[in-house]
Structures are given as C-alpha cells and as structure tokens.
C-alpha cells in the first residue's frame, strides 16, 4: 500500500487530470448504479444529485472569485437569487399579474444566458464602486449585498411575489429538432426519456452534467489564460501586480462578474428544476455553504472545489437529513426505543435532537477543516507550495 502511494507520489505531479476523469466517470455511471442499487427507485437520489450540481456550479464560480483572484465574497447567494428570479419572472405566468399585464414565457435555453448576463451585470454594478476597497472591506460590502438582495425580493410585492415567492415556473423544453418524429423510431428512445418533468429527474441530471462540463471547460481555459495569470498575480500581491502593468481593478471586476455569472447560470437551472423561487432559499447560509465547499475542496483548484461541493452537499443534504431516522432505528434495535419520544423533562425525542444538531455539525466541520487541513482536500499545487514555503519561512523566523 505504501509502495503504491509512494509510486503515485513520485510519478503523478498533477492529480487534476485523474480527478477530472474519475469525477466524469462517476457522474456518468451514477444514475445507472443508483437505479440498480435501489431496484429502480433511485429517482429521488438522481434528483438530489442534480440539485447538488447547482451547488457544484456555484462552487466553481466562487472559486474564480475567492480562489483565483483572492477576493472574499460573502454574499455570493445574492447572484444566485438574481439568476433564479430572472428565470422566474421571464418564464412563468407571473408578469400577467403585474402592471405589464402579459405573461412572458421565454425558453429555458435562452434564459440560462439571460440570467447569467443579468447576474454578471449585477456583479459589475456592485463591483465597480467597491473593488477599490481592499481585503476585508470587500468581504463586508458583499456581505451587506447578500443580505439586501433576498430582502428586496421578499419586499418586492407583486413584482417578485413577495415572501411566498413565485411558483409554477416553466420547465425546460427541448428544441423541436431533438424531439423530432425520429424519436419513436428504432433508436429505442421514447419522448418521455427526454422530457423534463418532476417524474423524470434523470433528464435534469443529464442537463446538469452538460452544464457543469461546459462551465468547467470554460473556467479551466480561463485559469490558464493571461487573465488567469493576472488574477493569481493580483491575489499574491496587488501592488506588485499593478506595478507590472496589470489593470488590477479591471481584472478584479472581471473575476467578480464571471463568478456572479456562474451563480446566475446555476440560479436559472435551480428555478427551472424546482419550478419555484422564494427569497428564503438565498440566505447567508447558502453563501457560507458554497464558501465552505470551495475551502474544503481546496481553494484555487477547480476539481478541488467540485470535490468539496460533492462531499459537503452529501453531508448536509443527504447524510444529516437521514441521520435522525437512522439513529431512531438504531435506538429501537438496541432497546432504547423510549429515547425516540419526547418526555416531560424537556427531551424533544432523539430524532428531533439529532436534526437540531445539524448546525453544530456544520460549525464543527468549518472549524475542523480550517484548523486541521487549511489547504483543503484537493489543494491547488501552486497554493500547496506557497503554504509549505510560508511555514518554512516562519520556522526560520522563529528559530532566529
């Protein structure tokens, strides 16, 4: 085992291509394996994975802002909200109740890009006056923005559906040339397999897979471009980068807008998949969760952010919601079934207590990662070297 590990360490300098390949294979075979393992009842899990893809997209986008350009964004969910609401307003009957008086039903495929564009514009608008600020101040401004946007949507009255939000949004429809008459022919595909309904979550899963692949290719190319190098230069030392002729404000604005665009993109999908938006789904906790995904995975590394998103999503949205029922079952089977019920002395029942504990667990995860493995699960090679070099320099300083 150690021999294999040493061999791998010696011969694989960059684990990223392997990580990409493994993740792609896992993603392609996931629905098949799940359906097989659950005897064909795995639709729920496939749909959950498609929702997880939304977080993965956001983690990839936030990684551009935080990981590449080193800008701390604590209000990332705001752009997610903007993307979702753009989709909701332009792809539902909602506008007919507003003074405009006509429902607008643009197709999902166009709205993906409109939502992306609107979110990018919002990012640029917020960024233009604030990116002159350095470090923590930017974090505070984005935090404020992240608090403002959901409240504006909640208070938006008939324009945004107020606190209940908007429901019955359009589902994506494939263009006619994919739904053509040949679908029923010997290829063996039925139209249902392509249709986006709540009963056919695999279609959303496939769509999400395509979107993530698209965004990863884009962001990966950006990282290796001149712009990507400029981002890293700004991240490492803004003054030095400026002295070398990098337009730091412009570069930061681009990073901010591209991050926002990715979030808006994810938001449009989220609105379409859920067919419902409400301002309550875009709070600070969403921003923190995405940030934690990026940090857990390894800041500045795209596969890292993706792995972090997958792991944290699994823990927060599958493992923890299942835990109360599992533990109740366990308590019953070991003869402590009485623990499962609330009693007079204030014990709310084992299941309730465990489901309440999810915040404690999330907090412990955040603190634990940072104290024990600050570089993340799959760290960026550049950052890893920086971290080790920095600690060596510190050791030297201490020794002196």
């Amino acid at each position: 085992m150690t021999a294999i590990r040493n061999y791998l360490r010696a011969h694989i300098r960059d684990p990223n291509p392997i990580a990409y390949a493994l993740m792609f294979l896992a993603a392609v075979f996931f629905p098949v394996v799940v359906q097989f393992a659950t005897n064909g009842n795995g639709d729920y899990l496939v749909g959950l994975a498609a929702d997880g893809g939304v977080y993965m997209l956001m983690a990839i986008g936030l990684n551009v802002v935080v990981g590449f350009a080193g800008l701390l964004d604590l209000g990332y969910a705001a752009f997610f909200a903007i993307g979702s609401y753009t989709y909701a307003i332009l792809a539902s009957a909602h506008l007919s109740v507003t003074p405009i008086g006509h429902a607008v039903h643009l197709p999902f495929w166009i709205l993906l890009f409109i939502a992306m564009f609107v979110a990018a514009c919002a990012g640029a608008l917020l960024g233009a006056p604030t990116l002159r600020l350095r470090g923590d101040y930017l974090a505070i401004v984005t935090l404020g923005f992240g608090e403002i946007v959901p409240r504006v949507f909640a208070n938006g009255g008939i324009w945004t559906g107020g606190i209940p939000g908007m429901s019955a949004l359009d589902v994506p429809k494939l263009p006619f040339w994919i739904q053509g008459p040949w679908v029923n022919l010997p290829l063996g595909l039925t139209p249902d397999e392509f249709r986006f309904t709540s009963a056919n979550l695999t279609a959303y899963y496939v769509l999400m897979l395509i979107l993530i692949t698209f965004v990863v290719i884009l962001v990966h190319n950006l990282q290796n471009s001149r712009l990507g190098r400029a981002w890293m230069a700004v991240r490492e030392d803004e003054s030095a980068a400026a002295a070398c002729g990098v337009n730091t404000v412009g570069i930061k604005l681009l990073a901010f807008s591209i991050g926002a665009a990715t979030s808006g993109f994810a938001g449009a999908f989220y609105g379409a998949k859920l067919s419902y938006v409400s301002s309550e789904n875009f709070g600070f906790i969403v921003s923190v969760t995405v940030l934690a995904m990026v940090v857990l995975g390894g800041m500045g590394n795209i596969p890292g952010a993706m792995v972090g998103a997958a792991v944290l999503y699994f823990i927060l949205f599958y493992f923890l919601p299942q835990a109360p029922a599992q533990l109740e079952g366990l308590a019953t089977s070991v003869g402590l079934g009485s623990l499962n019920h609330a009693n007079a002395s204030g014990w709310p029942g084992l299941g309730e207590e465990v489901s309440r504990a999810k915040y404690v667990i999330f907090g412990l995860i955040l603190v634990g990662i940072m104290v024990l493995r600050p570089q993340g699960l799959l760290p960026s090679q550049v950052r890893k070297q920086e971290l080790t070099h920095a600690s060596k320099a510190e050791l030297v300083a201490v020794a002196k």
Binding site: V66, L72, A124, A128, P129, T130, L131, R132, L133, R134, G135, D136, Y137, A139, I140, V141, G144, F145, E147, I148, R151, V152, A154, N155, R226, L227, A230, G245, V246, N247, G250, I251, L253, L254, F284, V288, L291, V295, M299, P348, E352, R356, A357, K358, Y359, V360, I361, F362, G363, L364, I365, L366, V367, G368, I369, M370, V371, P374, A390, E394
Partner: protein
C-alpha cells in the same frame, strides 16, 4: 494583450461621479424623512427616539466587541453576535437560581439579584469568547486571512447550533422584570422607564470601558498591540494575553447586552444573534472600525435610524436600509465617522 484585457473591462466610474450620486441619494432620503417626522408631531417622534436610543444602546454594546477585536487582530468575529444571544440564554437559565421571577420582586430585592445575574453572565460569556479565540483563532493567526474568517463563521454556527439543541427553534419568553412605568420628560412627552434603564446600563459600561482602555496598563497594552503588534511585542507586551483580554472584555459587554436585550424585548431565540451581530457590526463600521467611541456612536445612530425607518417608513425595508448604509459608508467613507485612515497591514 494587456491592452486588450484592459479594453474588455468595464472601466470603474470615476470616484467623483460616485460621490455626487451618493450625496444626492443621502440628501433625498434625509429630506423625505424630515418631512415625515415633521408631519408625525413631536410626541410620536419622542417615542420613536426612545425606542431608537434603547435599541441603539444594545447595538452599541455589541458593536464595541466587534470593533475592539477588529482593531487588534483585524478579524470580523462573526461569533460575537451569538455570544450576545448566549448571554440572554444563559441568564434566562440562571434566573430561578437568583430568585428572579416575573412580577414578584421590586426595589432592592430586584436590583441585587439582577446585579449578580449580570456579573455571572458577563463572566460566562467572557470565558466562552476567550475559549473561542484560543481554539479557533489563535492557531490560525499566521494563516491567510480567509482562514480565521471561516472559523469565525463556523464558531457562530456552532454556538447557534448549541443553543438550538438546548432550547429548540422557539421564541423563548424572557421575564419582564423592569417596571412598566412611563417617565415624563417634557409636557405630554413620555419615555418608557425600561428604555432609560437600558440606556443607563449601556452608558455605565461604555464609560467604564473607555476609562479602562484609556487609563489601565492592560488598556495601554491593547492600544499598543492594535497599533503595531510586533513593536508592542518588542516592548515586552504579552500579545496572546492582550488579545485574550480583548476577547474577554468584548464578551463582557456582549453578555450584558444579551441580558438587557432580554429584559427590554422579553423574547429571545437561538438565531437572533447573527442578525443582531451583523447590524451591530454595521454600526461599528459606521463609527469607524477599530474606534471605541465610534462604535458607541455608530450603534446609537443605527438604532435611531432603524427606529425612524420602523416608525415612519415600512419596517420590512429597515434591514435593507441598514445594510445599504453599510455599503454606502464603505464606498464613500471607509474610515467611518470617527475613524482614521490606517495603512493596509
């Protein structure tokens, strides 16, 4: 290529244009507010001001902890707002032990146990905050700045989670111990005695704090460490002890804030603190982060603004207004009302 990248970027609007737009927005809001206040009459305004000052006093107590911690280690201690709620929760649990029950005690039988409750709760919160610093921030003092910020959010979630596990998702009733009387301050204009108590407690604590920071040796060490940590260390100041002391004092104020919050509003819930903390932090930024009188002043102003917005405009928009103030201050005057320009460390 550099040229092309530059050309493809939206140029940041010039600072002067932004300033003009900002000034117009602020002036417009001020004029509208003044009109509404004028039409509302003096009695209603005095009432609103009373609410606002009481609210502001609580914000000020919490904001002081944010500003002190930020001043000394440049960290937004997100857990601070939850230490504040913890103060309310802990004091609520201790009330029976001090013999404090609703509507029974008054006079000296109320004041002495209440004083004891204050002291015990403040100490408890202080110890919790020092432990948080020791566990979550000190190991990361030389890490990139993002690291302690994330542990701060983690600690905040952890504290909220612990209180949630302890008491559940309910609004807990906090005993209404303070007298319900109204004090007449001018003919026809009254203010609740409760609000006066809140303001009095806050005032005493803020004065005690400024005296402590300004006169004591530890206060001097704190100011020195905030100015230049390395130089302070060379002068023989124990940095770790000074930082711990800062967290201790910040949490003492937050714990007191938690109790008076409970006494004033008679209701507290596990997740209250985060929101309160963010607004108090806004107050600290507004007053000039790192500046102690600034935080107190910022807290009062934010409290009054919130009360005016609640009383004369739509309460649903109050938080939007406060966070807009946060962004405005950072864009137009990042140093706040009383802050001085500090070089980026």
């Amino acid at each position: 290529m550099v040229q092309r990248v530059r050309a493809s970027v939206v140029a940041a609007p010039s600072a002067s244009l932004i300033n003009v737009v900002g000034a117009i927005v602020v002036a417009y809001v001020a004029v509208v507010a003044a009109q509404r206040i004028y039409h509302g009459g003096p009695v209603y305004f005095a009432q609103t001001l009373g609410f606002g000052l009481a609210l502001g006093a609580i914000y000020a107590l919490v904001a002081l902890g944010y500003t002190m911690v930020y001043g000394i280690i440049e960290l937004i201690n997100f857990a601070h707002g939850d230490v504040f709620t913890l103060g309310a929760f802990f004091s609520l649990a201790l009330m029976p032990a001090f013999g404090l029950t609703e509507g029974k005690s008054s006079g000296i039988g109320l004041i002495l146990p209440l004083l004891g409750l204050f002291v015990v709760t403040m100490l408890f919160c202080a110890v919790v905050n020092v432990v948080i610093e020791r566990v979550a921030y000190r190991p990361l003092r030389h890490a990139p700045r993002l690291a302690p910020l994330i542990t701060a959010i983690g600690m905040s979630t952890l504290l909220e989670g612990l209180m949630f596990v302890w008491k559940g998702p309910f609004n807990l009733h906090y005993p209404d111990l303070l007298p319900e009387t109204q004090v007449t301050i001018a003919p026809g204009v009254t203010i609740a005695a409760k609000a006066l108590v809140v303001m009095g407690v806050a005032l005493v604590l803020v004065i005690a704090l400024t005296q402590f920071i300004g006169r004591s040796k530890l206060g001097k060490a704190m100011r020195a460490t905030a100015q230049d940590r390395d130089a302070a260390q060379l002068m023989g100041i124990d940095i770790n002890r000074t930082i711990s002391a800062t967290f201790f004092i910040g949490a003492v104020l937050a714990g007191a804030g938690g109790i008076i919050y409970g006494l004033y509003y008679n209701s507290v819930a596990a997740f209250d603190g985060f929101q309160y903390g963010l607004i108090a932090f806004t107050a600290a930024v507004f007053g000039g982060i790192g500046n102690i009188p600034g935080a107190a002043l910022g807290g009062l102003i934010i409290g009054v603004v919130a009360a005016i917005s609640d009383g004369y405009f739509a309460p649903a928009w109050t938080e939007v207004l406060i966070f807009s103030i946060l962004i405005f201050v950072l864009v137009f005057r990042p140093t706040g009302l009383l802050g001085m320009r500090v070089p980026e460390k």
